[in-house]
């Protein structure tokens, strides 16, 4: 085995070396633990890094500093936040449904963690290669909605209940475009297994990769998937479930201390998981972007892509204004759903048309023209123009 290969497979080799010390009857369970523990360590760490990156990035966009007191350039801020949330008093409202109130954050965090079982984070680095992996991902993802409802309902507060109903309605509505946007990749690869999907994208033509994002349907699918993923993870501009001026913190308003931190963790883990799925489906998973860069380990590429997507999420959050509730629902049903359905049709057309420039032209036209039509429909004769600001003299 050459050196780059060894570095690429170092975690797999280490795992097998460690397994050699375990007695044979315990090996399956030891193997599972050795696969799960790194994932349970790495992604919360990424969560800690992301919180500080997000706050600093948003600060930069909004022309302020962001956290800069704890440690070098404020990078120990997550540790301080963690200690703070652990030592704070855990307040439970007297009228709250004690059991459901306690279970909600736990269900959320468990559901957010177990979706990572099917994410390939490197070559041969996936906890379990399920034959229906994508279905598993979406099925477990749908349990998050229930935990959100549990949190909102059990608090017995009008704000939290309204926030929970908003969040659940939004997540149900955007789950349909999310799944339909992923369907095009299933059509292209003919498999629901995430490992097979990544392997289908690892080839190179003239040094350029075979990622699905470089096809008309893949590009449209990626954009639609990312929009739906933003809405699924309740991030700006779709962060309607929480709004300081209307329903305050939404469904987790009555949570404090460590449970509040768990909600935060669950939300970010969900975002990483959907971003990871977007990378797996459209951006070639752990595959390097150019053939001359394949010597860099596969897991490096996965996390590099993940950080880029997180950066885009932060950028979007700092840039775009929020939607209104009716605009949010209208966008889901009048734009996202038709576009994703159309994208499924385009993917089928791509499969049956002969290779060449005509295929590109037809598929692009099939996507761009309806996009313009639907955008006009959403605009509804409203005259959009550059807003003129009037400052106080």
């Amino acid at each position: 085995m050459t050196t780059p290969d060894t570095i690429d497979q170092i975690f797999v080799i280490t795992k097998h070396w460690l397994l050699g010390y375990v007695p044979a009857p315990l090996q399956p369970i030891a193997s599972a633990i050795l696969s799960v523990l790194p994932v349970m360590g790495v992604f919360p760490l990424l969560f800690a890094i992301t919180t500080v990156l997000e706050r600093k990035g948003l600060g930069r966009i909004q022309n302020r500093y962001g956290p800069n007191r704890v440690g070098p350039a404020g990078f120990w801020q997550p540790a301080a936040d963690g200690i703070k949330s652990l030592t704070k008093e855990d307040v439970v409202p007297r009228n709250a449904d004690q059991i459901v109130h306690f279970l909600a954050p736990i269900v959320l965090v468990i559901a957010s963690f177990i979706v990572y079982a099917v994410l390939p984070i490197g070559r041969n680095m996936v906890i379990t290669d399920l034959n229906s992996g994508l279905l598993y991902f979406f099925a477990v993802g749908s349990m998050v909605e229930l935990s959100v409802f549990m949190a909102g309902w059990s608090s017995h507060s009008k704000y939290s209940l309204l926030g929970a109903m908003r969040a659940t309605a939004q997540m149900i509505s955007y789950e349909i475009p999310l799944v339909l946007a992923a369907v095009v990749v299933i059509m292209a690869t003919g498999s629901l297994s995430t490992v097979t999907i990544v392997n289908a994208q690892t080839g190179y033509t003239m040094g350029f990769p075979h990622w699905f994002v470089f096809t008309p349907w893949g590009f449209a699918g990626f954009i639609l998937f990312m929009i739906a993923a933003t809405a699924e993870s309740n991030r700006s501009p779709f962060d309607l479930p929480e709004g300081e001026s209307e329903i305050i913190a939404g469904y987790y308003i009555e949570y404090s201390g460590f449970k509040f931190a768990l909600f935060f963790l669950g939300e970010y883990l969900g975002m990483f998981a959907t971003s990871g799925l977007a990378i797996t489906l459209f951006l070639g998973g752990w595959a390097a972007p150019f053939s001359f860069l394949t010597w860099i380990p596969s897991y490096f590429w996965f996390f590099a892509k993940l950080l880029v997507i997180i950066g885009v999420f932060i950028w979007v959050r700092g840039t775009l204004p929020r939607l209104r509730q009716d605009q949010l629902m209208g966008f889901a049903w009048k734009f996202m759903l038709p576009m994703t359905l159309l994208n499924v049709f385009v993917a089928a057309a791509w499969h049956f048309l002969p290779t060449g420039i005509i295929r590109w032209a037809v598929c692009t036209a099939l996507l761009v023209i309806p996009f313009i039509v639907f955008s006009m429909g959403l605009k509804q004769n409203k005259k959009l123009q550059v807003r003129t600001y009037r400052f106080a003299e």
């Binding site: 459901v100 099925a139 349990m143 909605e145 209940l161 659940t168 149900i172």
Partner: protein, 166 residues
């Protein structure tokens, strides 16, 4: 039958029984999801991976959430002045017990010879092939039914148009 099967069976029965016995409607739905998770795990245990995940996706992701929305919109989770069970609950439970007794008697007095085959390996491709060739017509009909149900549910639940003031 492994010990895992009995644990899952106990989980399913506990969840569903609680769903039918608890007072608060939201607690019932939450217990029901527990039962559905147990049932999905039983499907996985029996080697039907695709069905198990579909069960979670449809029943927890759609039916339970829909029921929760209905409970919220009909305000049936508030404090209950009247009992949770109807006046005829004794008769209903008796009928259910009789049905179970008859079914259990019939099952335990039938000699079933289960084929002791190894766990069948069903891939998604096989299910897709069967669905698209042998069961293409039922699939289309199911699609039609779901569309009709979607439109029908919206029309039925839509508030009646307010009469314009004279």
């Amino acid at each position: 039958m492994s010990i895992v099967f009995f644990i899952l069976a106990a989980l399913t029965i506990t969840g569903t029984a609680a769903a039918m016995a608890l007072r608060n409607a939201v607690h019932c739905i939450l217990a029901l999801t527990l039962g559905f998770v147990g049932l999905a795990a039983l499907y996985l245990q029996l080697g039907a991976q695709f069905v198990g995940f579909t069960q979670i996706m449809v029943y927890i992701g759609a039916v339970a959430i829909l029921a929760v929305f209905a409970i919220m919109m009909t305000r049936s989770a508030g404090p209950h002045p009247q009992p949770a069970f109807s006046r005829t609950w004794r008769t209903g439970t008796l009928i259910a017990v009789i049905v179970f007794a008859v079914l259990a008697y019939a099952i335990s007095h039938t000699t079933l010879a289960p084929a002791t085959l190894p766990q069948p390996e069903v891939t998604v491709n096989q299910i897709g092939d069967t669905l698209m060739h042998q069961y293409a017509l039922p699939l289309e009909i199911l699609g039609l039914l779901l569309t009709a149900a979607l439109i029908g549910a919206v029309i039925v639940a839509m508030p009646a148009k307010q009469e314009a003031p004279q």
